[in-house]
Each structure stands twice: as C-alpha cells, then as structure tokens.
C-alpha cells in the first residue's frame, strides 16, 4: 500500500517537473523577447533590463534559470500579463474555479444521468428501449460541441428567450468570490435576496452545462452499456442464474460492481475531453473561465499568460488523472494494470 502511494507521488512529481521544463522552455520558444516572455514586464531602458536580467538569472546557465523559475512558481510569483498588467496569479485564480465549476456540474450530470441510463440499456440489450437509447447517445456524441452550443443559444436564448446567453450572473448582483464557485458563493454571501440570485445564476449556468454535459453523458452511456453487456455474458452470471438467484440479486450484487470497475479508468479521459469542450464553449457563452481567458490571450499574443495558463490547466488535469488512477489501484488491486474498457 505504501509502495503504491510512493510510486504515485514520484510519478506526480516527475510529471510536474516535465511540465515545468516545457513551460520554461516556452519562454524561449515563443516569438519575442525572452525576458518579456518570462516575466511579463517590459523594461524601459537598458539599466532596467540589465537589472531584471540579473534578477532572473538570465545571464547564467539554463539550469540556474530553471531553478529560479521553479522557485518563483512555487512561491506564487507568476509574472504579469501583457494585456492587462495584472499579476497572473490573480487572473488564474478568478478564471480557474469558473471552469472547474462548469466541468464539475457537467461531470455530475454525466455520472448521475449517463451511468444509470447505460445500465438500463445494457440490461435490456438489443430491445427497443436499448436501441432508442443507443441511437440517441450516438447522435448526441457526434455533435460538434460548438455547433451544439450555438444551436442551444439560437433556440433557447434568441427564439424562446428562456435563458441568458452570456456571463455567469446578471450584473445586478455583486457576489463576494469566496470559493470561486458561484452557486456556493451565493449561499455563503450575505445579500438580501439569495434565492433570486441563485435562480439567476442557475439560469446562466444551465445552457453551458447542458451543452457540455450532454456530450459527456452520451459518452458515458456508450461505455457503460458496453461494459454491462460484456459482464452479462460472463460465465459467472450464468452460474449464478443456475443457482436460482433472482435477477435483482444478480444485478445488484454482481453486475453493478463488475461493470463499474472497468469504466473508472476511462473517467480520466472523459475529464480531458470535458475540459477541452468547456474551454470551447466558454468563448461562445462569454463564461469567464480559463478557456475564454486563454483564447483571448492567444488572440492578443499574451505569452506569459499562455505559459502560466498552460501550466495551470495541465496541473489540474494531471492531478485529477493521477488521483483517479490511484483510486482505481486501491479499490481493485486484482486487475491487470493496463487494461482499460473500450467503447
């Protein structure tokens, strides 16, 4: 047990190191002046430039620069953005929780809607309801996410005027950002009409979550259904039937657990797709998340922002992936290490 933990910790640190190397080298790879890319500060004259170079150890070898860079990262000095001039740490601190909130709700929708539907379709495989669920899921899965979001905006916002199409909350409300998760912040803040603010935030979050969540749900349905069908045809289910166990017992005791176990490693890949889709959808809904921020940064060629943004997103994604892998290893040590379920 301790061995596994140590292994995963080393893996985590190693991966972060690789990320830091990539992020550092980006300062050199991006077009433009290295010093500006690294710090975000534009020196006004040569004396300042020389001072900054000495501070950031640019006159010494690459290794020292890298160590200094890593030291800066760990202490929280992430440089400044070209466009806004604000410290990057603040900007990422506002943008990141917004994206995580969106992704979390979409993931919850995929888990609580997709997995039961997948089970249902798998148990009643090749029946009419299964064909229906299967066709709906493959159709939803084939939608390009940006077109799906556009259609939702056109239908619900413009035609039916049922949901707003940009922002996180109406400008009338001023919520203190405590956690960064707006629904929790509303509950924690002390404004007068909490329920109105909550409803407003919900209507803002509904369309983006649905557009990402629908595709993630479709993916979960397909994967779960396939896993349940595979388990149903195994010999131990037939042996359990021959012992006379009822279908409910077989489902709850045997099929549920065994179908769920191969799916868990796939969640990590789901999260990746989810975050990519979230980043795309944020631009359409003007949702102030990190995807929107990064895309604005690339339009404006804000290199320090890109560097730090890449580091932040990769950090979050890799942490989640490694946590999920660790979780899998701990609850099911009997399986082959590199076996993953398929669609």
């Amino acid at each position: 047990m301790i061995q596994i933990l140590v292994r995963y910790c080393t893996l985590f640190v190693l991966t972060l190191l690789v990320l830091a190397i990539i992020s550092f080298s980006l300062a050199y790879l991006f077009p433009g002046d290295t010093l500006e890319n690294l710090t975000g500060l534009v020196p006004e004259n040569d004396i300042q430039r020389a001072a900054l170079e000495r501070q950031f150890k640019l006159d010494q070898s690459y290794i020292f620069q890298f160590f200094y860079y890593v030291g800066n990262l760990l202490t929280g000095d992430w440089g400044y953005s070209f466009t806004s001039g604000l410290p990057l740490r603040e900007e990422v601190g506002i943008a990141m929780p917004a994206t995580i909130e969106l992704a979390t709700y979409a993931m919850l929708m995929a888990l609580f809607v997709g997995v039961p539907l997948g089970y249902y379709a798998g148990i009643r495989c090749y029946s009419t309801s299964d064909h229906l669920i299967n066709s709906v899921s493959i159709t939803t899965y084939s939608f390009p996410v940006f077109w799906f979001a556009l259609l939702l905006i056109l239908i619900f916002s413009l035609q039916l005027d049922a949901a707003p199409m940009s922002g996180r909350i109406s400008l009338l409300y001023d919520i203190e950002p405590v956690t960064g998760f707006i629904l929790i912040d509303i509950l924690l803040s002390d404004i007068e009409n909490k329920s109105l603010a909550f409803k407003d935030a919900l209507s803002h979050i509904a369309l983006p979550t649905f557009s990402i969540g629908a595709i993630a749900t479709a993916s979960m349905i397909r994967v779960t259904r396939r896993s349940v069908i595979d388990v149903k045809h195994r010999p131990y289910i037939a042996a359990a039937l021959s012992r006379g166990l009822s279908s409910w017992q077989i489902f709850f005791r045997h099929i549920l657990r065994n179908a769920l176990l191969p799916i868990l490693p796939l969640m990590a890949i789901q999260i990746t797709t989810l975050i990519t889709n979230a980043m795309i959808v944020e631009t359409l809904f003007s949702w102030p998340g990190i995807g929107n921020w990064l895309i604005q940064a690339i339009y404006q060629r804000d290199y320090p922002a890109l560097r730090i943004g890449m580091m932040a997103v990769s950090f979050v994604v890799i942490t989640l992936t490694i946590l999920i892998d660790l979780f899998n290893r701990m609850i099911d040590p009997s399986r082959e290490k590199y076996e993953r379920a398929t669609v």
């Binding site: 893996l11 190693l14 991966t15 690789v18 980006l26 790879l29 991006f30 077009p31 493959i138 159709t139 899965y141 084939s142 939608f143 390009p144 996410v145 940006f146 077109w147 556009l150 259609l151 056109l154 413009l158 045809h233 990590a268 890949i269 999260i271 990746t272 797709t273 975050i275 990519t276 980043m279 795309i280 631009t283 995807g291 990064l294 895309i295 690339i298 339009y299 060629r301 290199y303 890109l306 890449m310 997103v313 990769s314 994604v317 890799i318 989640l320 992936t321 490694i322 892998d325 590199y338 076996e339 993953r340 398929t342 669609v343």
Partner: protein
C-alpha cells in the same frame, strides 16, 4: 457399394471476410458506410462537382437564401454567404479540407504512435514502466491546450493545427499499441517464432502486425472522428485554418456574424460536420460489433 453423397463445397471465409459479412448484415452500418463514401467522393472529386469557385466573391449576390426557401434560386443550392460566395461550393471544398486534413493527421499519428508503442511494448523493466506511467499522465493534456501552445509558437494556419492534433492523437495510439504488443508477446505463437530464430523486426512484421490491424482500424475510426471535430473546432476559433480557406469550422465562424439574418450560414456547415462525424461513428461502431461477433463465435 456405399451411397454416393455430395457435400457442399466447404467454404471457410477468412477473418476479414467474416467481419465484412457481419458488417454488411447490419443495415445501419451499411447506411453509415454509404454516407461516409459520399463524403469521401465529395472530398476527392471536389473540383469536378462544384459549379463555382470556392473563394470567388460576388458582390451582387450577397446572402441569397438556399434553394428550398421561396426567395432562393437553384443556381445557388445552399445560398450564398455574406461575401457572396456560393455556400454549396464552399461546403464541398470544406469537406475536402476537413476530411482530408483529418485523414492525414490520423495516418501520421498512427505511424508515429505505432512505432513508439511497439518500441515501448517490446522493452522490459523499470524503464518501460516509468515511460508508461509518464505517457499515461501526459495523455491527459487537453487537445485545445496543445493547439494553443503550438499556434503561439508557430503561428496560425491549417498545417499548424494539424501538427497540434497529431501531437494530441499520438498518446492514444501509443497506449493501445503498447498494451496490445505486451499482451501478444506473452502468447505462445510468438515464443514459437522466437525459438525458430526470428529477430525482433521479423517478429513484429510477420507475427504481431497482421494481428494488430483490426485494433488499429478501430482506433483509427475513433481518432478520425476526434480529429474532424478538433480541426473544425480550431478553425471555428480562428486558431487553425484561416478565412478564406474553406474549412467547415471557418465557414461556421464566418456565418456566425450573420446568423440572425441568414441562419443557413450556420446550419448547413454544422450539419455537414455533424453528418460526417455521425457516419464515421456509425461505421466505427459497426466495425467494432462485427469484430466482436467474429471473436466470440
């Protein structure tokens, strides 16, 4: 004198023939295949099918509605866009650009991924397990992020977005190839070939590669659908193909400005991408079912 009895000619189909027979038996899969073939034909024969030029602007005919609306005319089948370019021509060329570049991306990713994966699969020991874990962790980086970084370094353009998506697709191929090769190396027919004196290269080309083709075909269909969506997404965000290059995502982004006045500018390219991805997914699903049936019987 024993009775003279005729047995039917024994027909033992090869594995590919059996897969094709059970693929053909499913009507939906055949429908998907026909749709995909239509798209491929459009992509290949684009210059021959299209009536107009893809980038030629026509100031007199801005935002002509498509032919099924009363105001439209048959000479512009899908109408025109805000700059007077015929939408039908643009869509056909767009299929060509999107599908073609997605295809090239997948082939490139497959070549690199399979080589790396085989290499990692035939290695042993601590090195390979470190490489495995590292690769799995790096597989988690979102495609869009890689694309943004590459665009920042190299600039925008279709070719750069193709590089980005190739990089994003490689880890998937590496992972599946590696686990497949590791599983096969434990099997006894490999041991038999090794005892016969086969070198590692011969083992790979003659024993492992023919068995890998099925898995590769299935993975390629998955990767193709991902590549199509990603290339059009990057085009939509203006990080990949740039206007006026006819790429389905770019056409969609161009149509976004006039979406309220002329909704067909948004609907038609989106439908094109949707049906392309749908046909690839249906064909991929059908292939997977056919392969599964063949293995289990």
């Amino acid at each position: 004198m024993p009775q003279f009895s005729l047995y039917d000619e024994e027909f033992h189909p090869s594995p590919w023939q059996r897969t094709w027979a059970s693929f053909k038996a499913s009507h939906i899969s055949m429908l998907g295949l026909i749709m995909l073939a239509l798209f491929v034909v459009c992509a290949v024969f684009a210059p021959l099918i299209t009536p107009y030029d893809a980038v030629e602007q026509n100031i007199d005919g801005l935002l002509i509605p498509p032919s099924w609306v009363t105001n439209g005319s048959i000479s512009h089948l899908f109408g025109t866009d805000a700059l007077g370019r015929d939408l039908f021509t643009r869509i056909i060329y767009g299929c060509r650009v999107t599908l073609g570049s997605a295809f090239i991306t997948v082939v490139l990713a497959m070549l690199v991924g399979v080589s790396l994966g085989t290499f990692a699969g035939m290695l042993r020991g601590v090195r390979s397990s470190i490489a495995n874990h590292l690769l799995d962790a790096l597989m988690a980086i979102p495609t869009l992020l890689i694309a943004i970084i590459i665009v920042a370094i190299l600039g925008t353009g279709l070719v750069n977005s193709m590089w980005a998506i190739t990089l994003a697709l490689i880890p998937q191929f590496v992972h599946h190839t590696r686990s497949f090769v590791r599983a096969e190396m434990k099997k006894e027919y490999i041991v038999a070939s090794k005892l016969d004196g086969a070198s590692k290269w011969q083992l790979f080309v003659h024993s492992i590669l023919p068995n890998m083709t099925e898995m590769l075909v299935v993975q390629s269909t998955l990767a193709l659908s991902i590549a199509v969506i990603d290339i059009s997404a990057l085009g939509f965000l203006n990080l990949g193909a740039q206007s006026p290059l006819p790429e389905l995502g770019v056409i969609l982004a161009d149509g976004l400005d006039v979406a309220y006045l002329a909704p067909w500018n948004v609907a038609v390219p989106g439908m094109a991408i949707f049906f392309m991805v749908l046909s690839i997914n249906i064909v991929g699903d059908g292939l997977r079912s056919a392969l599964r049936k063949r293995v289990s019987h």
